[in-house]
């Protein structure tokens, strides 16, 4: 799966969980500062991403995923 595909899939999840338009979920955006996503929504996004991409995203790893790009890189490295 390409990074573009992961980003697209992640954007769909973010839109569903947090109501942020998928087009706004671009790699440079910070989940907390730019997309206004709180810690519990991050868990929901992680859980759905685990199902969608077949990866594990434990809470301690999740804490390091500050931007959409961080998450795409992490998922790509584990998938």
């Amino acid at each position: 799966m390409s990074n573009e595909d992961i980003q697209k899939g992640l954007a769909e999840i973010v839109e569903e969980v947090a109501g942020v338009a998928a087009d706004d979920v671009t790699v440079e955006k910070s989940f907390v500062d730019d997309l206004d996503i709180d810690s519990l929504s991050m868990v929901e996004i992680a859980v759905q991403a685990e199902d969608k991409f077949g990866v594990k995203i434990p809470d301690d790893e999740l804490a390091n995923l500050k931007t959409v790009g961080d998450a795409v890189t992490y998922i790509a490295s584990k998938a």
């Binding site: 709180d38 810690s39 809470d59 999740l62």
Partner: protein, 325 residues
């Protein structure tokens, strides 16, 4: 050989009455924002709570338990003399001994009864309900008073915005007795001790600590399957469930579990308990109190199929299907 005799097991059990009690003092999010760095909007977004009630310094956990228990007995149409066992689910007694149940039983007028506490934290009420149902069915007791009572404010740091905005005080109770038609289903229960540290009061000088993300992940992914197991054990379909009353932990957890149940066949018009909005998280009291409030508001009717689901510190969980009395 001399044989040991057992009483004949009954065909079924049911909830005969429900009661609850909350302290008078209402604490709004605006009140909390005066003593800690928080806001009404922040609290509503994170946990869905608008207001909660705190017991005063002089109001004890056992006082609240007595109020709720007496109301449940009155609602059942029985007298205290008809009740022959008392179980109190609680995790916030100010001292480990004596237990709450014996003194509560005596004050209500259930004298010399077997009385004991159950500590399965926020799952405690469903654990105690299952135990009571099995006691009645096996013939150990005839009518059992089951109370969930908590004074969480005794164990919360009032300036800790991760917990002080969530937890509150209350008691809820039911009376369990024999029923020709089984109206309390088998319990689906268990524990996850590997996550024991995620919700804990470390020692007598500590306050409640909760790892919010870890608990949220566990509750939103692991509890719906247990609820579905309870439905299967009762021999009904998820689509038969009229009302879902999960422990009132956090509105977002409640909604997430309900969403999962709907994705597995629960009806869109299944009523969801949202008592947390005006009661906060009251641990073992939350499920019986939600039942009582929803019945008073006309959201539950007699005969409704109700799915109860407790989960919390331990971590522990228990759920069962019951029919509303």
């Amino acid at each position: 050989m001399t044989s040991i005799k057992l009483p004949a097991a009954l065909s079924g059990t049911r909830i005969l009455g429900i009661g609850s009690y909350q302290p008078e003092t209402i604490v709004t999010n605006h009140d909390l924002a005066k003593v800690m760095e928080t806001s009404d909007e922040w609290i509503r977004d994170r946990v869905g709570i608008v207001s909660r009630r705190f017991a005063g310094k002089d109001e004890k956990l056992t006082d609240m338990a007595v109020e709720a228990g007496a109301k449940a007995i009155a609602d059942s149409g029985l007298t205290p003399g008809d009740v022959d066992a008392v179980i109190v689910a609680t995790c916030t007694m100010p001292s480990p001994i004596p237990n709450a149940a014996a003194q509560v039983a005596e004050r209500i007028g259930v004298t010399a009864a077997p009385a004991f506490d159950v500590n399965a934290a926020c799952a405690g009420f469903c654990y105690a309900l299952a135990t009571a149902s099995d006691m009645v069915r096996s013939g150990s007791s005839r009518n059992v008073l089951v109370i969930g009572a908590e004074k969480l404010t005794d164990w919360v740091d009032p300036t800790d915005r991760s917990t002080a905005i969530i937890f509150a005080d209350a008691a809820g109770a039911v009376v369990v007795g024999p029923g020709d038609e089984p109206s309390i289903g088998p319990v689906a229960w268990g524990s996850a001790g590997e996550l024991a540290d995620t919700i804990a009061i470390a020692d007598r000088n500590s306050s409640i600590h909760q790892e919010g993300q870890a608990v949220f992940r566990w509750a939103t992914t692991q509890i719906a399957p247990v609820a579905i197991r309870a439905v299967e054990l009762a021999g009904v379909e998820l689509s038969d469930v009229d009302v879902f009353v999960p422990h009132q932990a956090n509105l977002r957890i409640v909604e997430a579990i309900a969403k999962r149940l709907r994705s597995k066949g629960a009806r869109e018009d299944m009523v969801i308990a949202r008592d947390i909005v005006e009661s906060g998280n009251t641990s073992s009291a939350s499920i019986p109190m939600a039942l009582d409030h929803m019945r008073a508001a006309g959201e539950i009717s007699s005969g409704d199929v109700v799915l109860l689901m407790g989960f919390g510190a331990g971590l522990s969980y228990a759920g069962q299907v019951v029919r509303c009395p």
